[in-house]
Symmetry: C2
Amino acid sequence: MNATTRPRVVIIGAGFGGLTAAKALKNAPVDVTLIDRRNHHLFQPLLYQVATAGLAPNQIATPIRAIVRHQKNVNVELGTVEAIETAQHQVVLGDRRVPYDFLIIATGARHAYFGHDDWEEFAPGLKTLEDATEQRKRILLAFEHAELEPDEAERTRLTTFVVIGGGPTGVETAGAVAELANKALARDYRRIDPKSARIILIEAGARILGAFPQSLSEHARRALETLGVDVRLGNAVTHVDESGVTLGGEHIASRCVIWAAGVQSSPAARWLKIPADRAGRAIIGGDLRAPGLANIFVVGDCAAVNDSAGKQLPGVAAVAKQQGAYAARAIKAALNNETLEKPFAYVDVGNLATVGRKAAVVDFGAIRFTGFIGWVFWSVVHIYFLIGFKNRIAVALDWVWSYLTFERGARLITGDIASEAPAAADKRNAA
Amino acid sequence: MNATTRPRVVIIGAGFGGLTAAKALKNAPVDVTLIDRRNHHLFQPLLYQVATAGLAPNQIATPIRAIVRHQKNVNVELGTVEAIETAQHQVVLGDRRVPYDFLIIATGARHAYFGHDDWEEFAPGLKTLEDATEQRKRILLAFEHAELEPDEAERTRLTTFVVIGGGPTGVETAGAVAELANKALARDYRRIDPKSARIILIEAGARILGAFPQSLSEHARRALETLGVDVRLGNAVTHVDESGVTLGGEHIASRCVIWAAGVQSSPAARWLKIPADRAGRAIIGGDLRAPGLANIFVVGDCAAVNDSAGKQLPGVAAVAKQQGAYAARAIKAALNNETLEKPFAYVDVGNLATVGRKAAVVDFGAIRFTGFIGWVFWSVVHIYFLIGFKNRIAVALDWVWSYLTFERGARLITGDIASEAPAAADKRNAA
């Protein structure tokens, strides 16, 4: 430990885990350095709303500096971590070295393709704002190109949307695409009818929302089908390319495939040279410390931690936040030469998922909501947890507006459009 | 004219001119095709607010389809015009041909560098949403990199912002950057003081806001200086490169230069093979028809039209809107084999510019406002003209919020960050 200054706590990643840890160290006699590749904290549970043009990027992202502005012991640094020198207690960012006495790694996960990285080009995932605005462009451009397309088969392919993965992200995305097509876009085209768009949700398991009770999975499936989503269960995708998706013997022609089927941890375990599970998560004990590296904590989606029953904790915001808070408590104890008596124990705060604007499933164990009550509950919870008071007002306004008018607030195609135009779309009047 | 169907009016560009023309043809017995490279109409007068993190892109952009949704005789097509075959009455978009009986060209202008195109890389301009989010990234990253920079001279260079051009865009941008540094960012850094940032506005002429009366120019200059902006008059920039800006014998070291000094018309004149002025604008008579091409109208920033006194009309929204409406009236008259008796005459609706959040200059000829009253007036006018009722609410909410809290709603750095990091910024802890 540094003799002349206060102990240095370095936190990598300003997601739910890292940010909670930083805040929990507010009154501790330490200097905190919070490092992130981005200048903003992202409220990932609503990222699918950006991808489907319901919310604007700034409504679900808040500058990290603004969040910790009044916490004078936190120093925010923009940078990309490349390695950790555990022997020298330094984080490596290019030529830059940031020394630490305690380190919290909270770098999250990216989507993964189970060894089929070549699918990513045709079925991008959803983890960053750039991912979301790219998805939004793909979805909106599909309708634009269909409007110009003389060939009926190609038109059908352009307006077939395939979502791979029946977890909360896949379910929420499929529902939101269906509502976009059925409501917001319904009257905006002259040649195509957006309501005739096909939305297909593919889940390899026997039911969607596998983490929820069977009855809520069933309810969500029926709600999706009411919205017109074709839910395919027990079917694993075997191939994805430019032409569409193959599952079983069937080929689904689609120009817009969305990946929501799996995640791969950021390289925390590799940086620390400690064991990882199949998804790359660092295998960590109940003290959340890296094995053999007592001053390093790993929290959130990049950590594989089991609960007391031996079941692995899910990669959700609540787990990351509670782990971030636990790591901060452990550091405060260590400053007094103490260790926490109890290992980390996750307090289950329930599961929520929404299906369009009138249905949601909420599982609090004893209490379960579905339908409109579930949707209202889901909305209140999400708005409550959105960081930044103004974001809460803006998102609430947007949702009330969408609810009353079926309008979408963020239907922008940005970025390079010309290069995206399929050759076919330019041939309409050539004949 | 087509015998079996209704006359076809093709409008290229859904800016102020094209959109006004399309709306003015609402009840005319014509089929309108509105072509744009983008899916959104952009409220360009507020683009500087996106560039300076005050507003989000979706607050100043509205999907074109949503605007004309209820106007059944308008068909919107996304596409990039490459040529016009005036002999065959066709607009060429790649392999696609769109036939017309009447054509309205309203394709606007881009920024221009007076023969110094190599300056663009270092001093980008502001005409599209992508331009604005790129400017926003450059401005916000400059502060991030300064926070990590050990060398004082380099830190000064990183926090020196140069705006070239003293028209409304340059004045409004310089004021907004000053407020961003002095207010929104003031408490967010630990090593640098954003309030010590230098903002320099360079104008080659003898005063800023040359289109306004002398007294209002003078008022705006004083308001900028109160905000801490260094206004340099009568100084033309002679060189721009990675190191900064040269004017006269002086070199100003800056990593963030913003270009607001000139525009170049889109290639309407070249497409039609008709004479253009120095800025590339098609030289058009009072009937707004292309010389020798009676069924083609050119309106807005791509047209050079003189008023009755022989003075060229300015490239502002009001001129474009009035010209778009005039072209629509002329087409409706032509359907009855009539021609409009009077040539186009611009009704001057006044000039507005704002300097930060408490000052604006408003020139209505007889009536002039300055200061806070001017700012309130400016806000009301801009919000009123923002297309989309919801955008009006959202922008009003944002401005009230910013006014009360000095906070910025859209302080996001998106896009590729790693590649932007200056080498120097990575050397801090290397020493």
